[in-house]
Symmetry: C3
Amino acid sequence: MDFKATDIAAFLNGEVVGDGNVKVTNVSKIEEGKPGTLAFLANMKYENFIYSTGASVVLVNNSFIPKEKINTTLIKVNDAYEAFASLLDLYMQAKASVKKGIEQPSFIDETASVGKDIFIGAFSYIGKNSKIGNNSKLFPQVHIGENVTIGDDCILYAGVKIYDDCIIGDGCILQAGAVIGSDGFGFAPQKDGTYKKIPQIGNVILEDNVEVGANSTVDCGTMGSTILRKGCKIDNLVQIAHNCEIGENTVIAALSGLAGTTKIGNNCRIGGQVGFAGHLTVGDNVMIGAQSGVSKSLKSNQILLGSPTLSIKDAIKSITVYKNLPQLRDEVIQLQKEIKTIKKANN
Amino acid sequence: MDFKATDIAAFLNGEVVGDGNVKVTNVSKIEEGKPGTLAFLANMKYENFIYSTGASVVLVNNSFIPKEKINTTLIKVNDAYEAFASLLDLYMQAKASVKKGIEQPSFIDETASVGKDIFIGAFSYIGKNSKIGNNSKLFPQVHIGENVTIGDDCILYAGVKIYDDCIIGDGCILQAGAVIGSDGFGFAPQKDGTYKKIPQIGNVILEDNVEVGANSTVDCGTMGSTILRKGCKIDNLVQIAHNCEIGENTVIAALSGLAGTTKIGNNCRIGGQVGFAGHLTVGDNVMIGAQSGVSKSLKSNQILLGSPTLSIKDAIKSITVYKNLPQLRDEVIQLQKEIKTIKKANN
Amino acid sequence: MDFKATDIAAFLNGEVVGDGNVKVTNVSKIEEGKPGTLAFLANMKYENFIYSTGASVVLVNNSFIPKEKINTTLIKVNDAYEAFASLLDLYMQAKASVKKGIEQPSFIDETASVGKDIFIGAFSYIGKNSKIGNNSKLFPQVHIGENVTIGDDCILYAGVKIYDDCIIGDGCILQAGAVIGSDGFGFAPQKDGTYKKIPQIGNVILEDNVEVGANSTVDCGTMGSTILRKGCKIDNLVQIAHNCEIGENTVIAALSGLAGTTKIGNNCRIGGQVGFAGHLTVGDNVMIGAQSGVSKSLKSNQILLGSPTLSIKDAIKSITVYKNLPQLRDEVIQLQKEIKTIKKANN
C-alpha cells in the first residue's frame, strides 16, 4: 500500500492533526514504529510511545489529548483500534485481490472446473473432476486430487495437498504444507506378526470458514468422513485421525493430536500438545489446558488440565502437592519414627 | 466403480435377494448408507440399520434371516466382512492401476531410470542416478534426490521428499509431505558459543512394506543409515532422528519422536506423542502408552506407560494416587496433629 | 568422490602405510566399513574393529601402533578425528558446489533478482520483488513469496515454503518442507461464538546461520516480526508461533512448540516435545529437559525439567517419590491404623 494521511483520514471519517501529505506504506506497533508506517494508540498503557514513536502516522481516539509535543501526524477517529482493524482488513483484501489468473506451468485436468476470479499458482495440480469455487486462490505447488470440491473464497497456501474425494467449504484457509485426506492409520494384524493395510476409502469434509495450520494433517475416514465443522480453527502441526469430528468454532492449538473416531463438540478450546485417545466424545464448551492427555469422554462445560485430565482446580492442587512430594515423603518418615517412639514408650 | 448387484454377487460367489439390476458406485457404513452405495452387515449389533439403511446393496452372511421387511438388495455370502474387504482391495487396486504414465511437465534426470507400469505425476523431480522400480506411483510434486532407489509397487503421495542416497524397498507407502533423509540434528559446540554443523552424510533405508505417515520426518544417518525394518508402520507427524532403527512390524502413532541412535525392536506398539531419549535400545514386543517418555533402554515383552515409564500396572497405581494427592496430604497433616495430641497427652 | 589413498594422504599431510593405490568413493564407520570406503580410528575403544574392518582406508593417529596384523591401508595423521572431519567438510562443499544454474521449468518473477553462483531447482517459484543472494541453493519445489530476501550461502531443501516479506540471513539452512511465515493463530471471538481472523501482517526474520528442521513451522508476527537470532538451530516438526524470538545459538529439539510472543534467550538448549505458554521470557543459558511444560518466565542459567518445570534436582526427587506413590499411600494408611490403635490403648 502507499497512502497519504489525508486519504486514510477520509476513508476513516477521521481528522488529520499535523502533516496530511505524509505517506505510509506499511503498519507497525507504536513501540516499534518506523518512518513510512502507520500505528495506532488505543490502550493508554502505551501512551508514552506516542511521544517518541518513529511511525509517520498514528491513529488515536477523538478523546486523546497529548500531554507532550508530538512529532508524528495524528488521525483522530471514534475508535482507534476498530479503525486500525478495518484498515488491515482492507489491506488484506486488496492484497488478496491482486492474485488472479492461472500461472504457467500449472496442471488442470480437462475434466476439472474452476470458478470466476480464481488464482492458480504455477506448479499447482488439479486432478480429474475436481471443482474450484469462485474467488478462491491456490498458491503455487498446491495439489488437488480427483473429485475434490473447493468452495468459494478459499485460500490454499503453497504446497497444500488435498487427497481424492475431499470437500472443502466456502471461506476456508489452509496454511502451507497442510495435508487433507491422507490415509487413516489402520492396519489389521496378521497371524505372522505383519500388518495388512485396511483400505482407507473415506474422505475429509471441511465445512465453511475452517482454518487448518501449516503442516497439519487430517486423515480421511476409513469409511465415511472425517469432519471439521463450520468455523473451527486448527493450528500448525496438528494431527486429526480418521473419522474424527471437530465441532463448530472449536479451536485446537499446535502439536495436538486426536486418535481415530474421536468427536469434539462445539466451541471448545484445546491447548497445545494435547492428546486424545480414540473413540471418545467430548461435549461443548470444554477447555483443555496444554499438554493434557484425554483418555475418557468428557461432558460439556468443563475446564480441564493434566494427563490424566482433572478439573482445573483439582489439577492445580495435585500439581502443588507434586512439587512438594519429597517433603511429604520426609514428613511420613518422620511420622513413622515418632510412632515408633510412642509405641516403645507405651510398652 | 459402477457395478450391478448381479456382477458383484457373481464375483463374490454370492446370491442376490431383491433387485439384481441396481447399481452401486461407492461403499458406505450401513448406518450411513446412501442410494448408490454398497454396505455390509456382519456384526449383528448393527442389525437394526439394515431395515432402514439407504444403501442400495448390503452384503450379509448366508446365515442372516431378516426379522422385518428389507427394502434394499441383499447379497448373501459366506462371510460378509471378508467379502466386503475383498471388494475394497479390488477397488483400491483398480483405482491405483488407472494411474500410469508420465505427466508433463515433470523432471527426470537423463541418468535416472524408471521401471515398467510406473506413474510419475506432474511437477515431480527425479535426480541423478536414481531408480524407480516397476509399478511404483509417484504422485505430483514428489522430490527424489540423487542416487535414490525406489523399489517396486511403491506409492509416494503428493509432495513426498526423499534426499540423496536413500533406499526405499518394495511395497512402501509414503503419505503426502513425508520427508525421508533430512539432515540429522548434529552440531559441534564451539568455544565462542556457536555451533558448527556436523556433516550428515548417511542415508535412510526403508525395507519392504514400510508405511510413513503424512508430514513425518526421518533423518539420515550422520554416517551409516537410519533404518526402518520390514513392515513397520509410522503414523503422521512422527520424528525419527539420525541413526535410529525401527524393528519389523513395529507401529508408531502420531506426534511421537525418537532422538538419535535409538533402536526399537520388532513388533512393538508405540502410542501417540511418545518421546524417546537418544542412544536407547528397546526390545521386541514392547507396548508403550500414549504421551510416555522413555529415558532408559527397555527389555522385551513389556507394557509400559508414563513419563518416566512404569509398568502399566504401576503406572495406573501411581496415577490413581496422584489424582488424590491433595487428600493424601491432608491425611498426613491430620496424622501430624493427632501425634502432637498423643505426645502432649503422654507427657 | 573417488580418491586414491596417496591423494588423500597428500591433502592431509599424512603418511600411507600399505597399498597407496586403493581408491575410496565413500566414508563409513570403522565398525561398518565396506570395501571402497574410508573410516577413522580415534577413540581406542574401537581399536578391535581396525583388525577386521572392511574399509579400504583408515585414518589413524600418528601414535597408533597396531597389536595385530592389519589388512587395510592406513593413513597416519596428527589427529585422525580432525582429519576425517576436514575431509567431510571438503566433501560437502564439493557436493554443494556442483549444484549450479537454473533448472527448467521454474518460475522467477521478472521483478525478482538472483545472485551469482546460485542453484534454483525445477518447479521452484520466486515471487515479486524477492531477492536471492549469491551462492544460495534452492532445491526443487521451493516456494518464495513476494518481497522476500534470502541472503548468501543459504540452502533451501526441496519444498521449503517462505511467505511474503520474510527475511532470511546468510548461511541459513532450511530442511525440506519447512514453512516460514505462515499466519499466526490469532482470532477475535465474536458474540455469536464464531471467530474473526485477525490479519497477520508481520514477517519472520532469520538472522545468519540459522537452521530450521524438516516440516517445522515458524509463524509470521501478527504485526512486527518473529525472530530467530544468529546461529540458532531448530530441529524437525517444531512450532514457533507469531512474534516469538529465539536467542543466538539456542537449540530446540524436535516436536517442541512455543505459543505466541514468547522470547527465549541466548545459548539455551531445549529438549524434544517441550511446550512453552505464550508471553513468557526465558533468560540465557537455560537448559530444559524433554517433554517439559514451561508456564512461567525463567531466569538465566538454570537446568529445568518437568511439567510444571522444576530445577533438575527437585524434578528428579519428585519423580522418584512419584514412582513410589502407591507405597507412600500404603504407609500413610498403616500410620492411620497404628494411631487408631494407640488412641484406643490410651483411652
